[in-house]
């Protein structure tokens, strides 16, 4: 497609689908094999969060904490104090959901590079329902000084992000999803913490997406192209620190922005971009995401449809925004 080395045909029916969390599991195993300082701890969800690969390879460096997320992150702080690179995982609803103050005091203020891994984020968790569909994690983590916030777009990128986290000396939070989603990047697709990437260049409007929603935005851009609209898609896997340069470079040209994320638009990627633009370049903006409400049980596709988190909804939102300015 361009120098991003994405798959040429992202809507091919035989595109490989894989849960983003699987990429994390592979990345952790890889970096664990390479670096003895990498350790892992989990709160009774070792298979679900895909830490099992690491655990099997390095049982002496794996700690089972039990169902105790406050302890999980604070033990992580202690491990990091002794020079370890601790990855700690649970479902995002419980970590960071259950233990925000411990993360604030013992990791962020204490400046210990703990790697927080929140799996099963977003409504695409599906049947488990609203209690387990974490929507506020990005907002909770991005307000913390020192914290880096990541939401990779597919399993390959999650793998690269995990390796990059181990080398980063700040506290990090990475958001993972449960359901299989298309793998549309390749081994050559660039990833660096702090960078956003123009996946589809365009002139008419800027779509900024993160996590599972980037694929939907890419599909929307293809549909829009057929509609005669030249949309630019920026993939933003690092929500904090936000790549202001890439975003502003785009919005200064298009003057219109739509953000897309599988979480609360308030305080999430939408909030982060709105803050940036309010400060630097006020532009017409629309935030696609969860609109101040919780999810519910259902299959992932039913829920994404209900909450307006599909390529079709992005396509319609773009048309609506362009219509306003006619």
């Amino acid at each position: 497609m361009n120098n991003m080395h994405l798959l040429t045909d992202i809507t091919a029916t035989d595109i490989v689908q894989e849960p983003i969390r699987k990429g994390f599991g592979r990345g952790l195993k890889t970096i664990g094999d390479a670096n003895e300082a990498v350790v892992a701890a989990c709160a009774d969800l070792t298979d679900s969060t895909q830490m099992s690969l690491f655990k099997e390879a390095h049982p002496e460096r794996f700690i089972e904490i039990g169902v105790a997320e406050q302890n999980l992150v604070t033990v992580g702080s202690g491990l990091a104090a002794m020079g370890k690179i601790p990855f700690v995982s649970s479902y995002a609803a419980f970590m960071p959901g259950r233990c925000w103050e411990q993360i604030r005091t013992t990791i962020c203020l204490n400046d210990r590079p703990v790697k927080l891994v929140g799996s099963h984020a977003g409504v695409s968790v599906g049947p488990d329902g609203a209690t387990h569909q974490m929507l506020e994690d990005i907002a909770l983590m991005r307000v913390l000084p020192n914290m880096v916030v990541l939401a990779p777009g597919d399993s390959l990128e999650a793998e690269k992000a995990t390796v990059a986290m181990a080398a980063d000396r700040r506290p990090n939070y990475i958001r993972l999803a449960r359901e299989a989603t298309p793998v549309f990047t390749t081994a050559e697709t660039p990833f660096e913490i702090g960078k956003a990437y123009v996946y589809t260049p365009g002139e008419d409007i800027t779509i900024i997406a993160t996590g599972t929603m980037t694929y939907q935005a890419m599909v929307a851009a293809e549909k829009l192209y057929k509609d005669g609209v030249d949309a630019e898609v920026i993939h933003c896997p690092t929500i904090k620190p936000l790549d202001a340069e890439t975003i502003l470079h785009s919005v200064r040209r298009t003057k219109r922005v739509i953000t897309v994320e599988e979480g609360q638009a308030a305080g999430g990627l939408g909030g982060a971009v709105a803050e940036l633009l309010a400060d630097k370049f006020p532009a017409r903006m629309h935030r696609i995401g969860m609109q101040d409400r919780f999810g519910e049980s259902g299959n992932p596709n039913e829920l994404l449809e209900k909450f307006g988190l599909t390529a079709k909804h992005i396509q319609l939102a773009v048309h609506a925004m362009l219509e306003e300015s006619k």
């Binding site: 039990g66 033990v75 202690g78 491990l79 002794m82 411990q102 400046d111």
Partner: protein
């Protein structure tokens, strides 16, 4: 490395530290009085006899670790650190002031020699667990010791018991935790606010070896730490019975002194009492 003091010298050191606590708190105009005074004997025993560390090289890789989990008692730690040579005693008077390294609650990144940032309660033991597990992986488990001072009111926090369970499970025997059992917390006596007893049985049920001591008797603190090191397959909890406000009669046992500093008059009275050991001797500076 710091020189280990004899019992007589330790008792005098604890008294000097109490005097500094009073001066610091009076100068700061805010802070906690009862806890730091009650802990002075324990912290003195640790810093001047029990622990191995080097104030001139705070990151010495073989050092023992001191974690003050109840961060509001940090004035006693600051005073001990100054006496041990981590920084000049004059700096104690900057406690809680703008630009000071001595933050109201301890901040590791501000002052070298601190091992953790604390204040919100219930986290020190979890951090100790992480440190102990890392030491086990590095095969230095029985060579370095982690001392965690905790409040009794702090044990209302669920996080404490999550850590207690983990330390019991992994038999983290290089953790020596010390509960400052002074029976008070901000709102009143612990047994009224949220009963903790039977505290010994609780810790034992979580897989800990428990030793009850008089926390205002330096010799018994030192002896208990030696005993704790001999326990090879369990973490150890010292339930240290202390007198809140110890050494200053009008503060002793009075929970209203938990969270306030002495004013000028009260500080003068307290210092007089400390210098004369409650009227038993004539103060050097009187």
């Amino acid at each position: 490395m710091v020189t280990k003091l004899s019992l007589d010298a330790l008792e005098k050191k604890a008294n000097d530290i109490r005097e500094d606590i009073i001066r610091m708190l009076e100068e700061a105009g805010s802070g906690h009085s009862a806890g730091p005074l009650g802990l002075a004997d324990i912290v003195t025993a640790l810093y001047f006899n029990v622990m191995d560390y080097d104030p001139k090289n705070p990151d010495w890789p073989e050092r023992d670790i001191f974690l003050m989990s109840n961060g509001h008692c940090v004035p006693v730690q600051y005073a001990a650190m100054a006496h041990a040579g981590f920084f000049d005693r004059k700096e104690l008077m900057t406690l809680r002031k703008y630009g000071s390294r001595l933050q109201g609650h301890p901040e590791r990144t501000k002052l070298s020699g601190l091992e953790n940032t604390s204040g919100p309660l219930g986290c020190g033991l979890s951090q100790a667990c992480g440190m102990a597990l890392a030491m086990r992986m590095d095969h230095v488990e029985r060579k370095r010791w982690i001392y965690v001072v905790m409040g009794d009111g702090e044990q209302d926090e669920g996080n404490v018991w999550e850590a207690a369970m983990l330390a019991g499970k992994y038999k983290l025997s290089n953790i020596i935790a010390i509960t400052d059992r002074n029976n008070i917390q901000i709102d009143g006596p612990t047994e009224e606010i949220m009963p903790l007893e039977d505290l010994k049985a609780k810790w034992e049920a979580f897989g800990w070896h428990v030793i009850e001591i008089d926390g205002n008797n330096i010799e018994s603190v030192i002896d208990a730490c030696s005993m704790a090191k001999a326990i090879e397959n369990k973490p150890v909890m010292l339930i240290a019975h202390t007198v809140p406000g110890k050494g200053v009669e009008f503060m002793e046992y009075d929970f209203t002194w938990h969270g306030k500093p002495p004013n000028r008059e009260e500080a003068k009275k307290a210092l007089h009492e400390l210098r004369t050991l409650g009227g038993k001797i004539r103060g050097e500076h009187e």
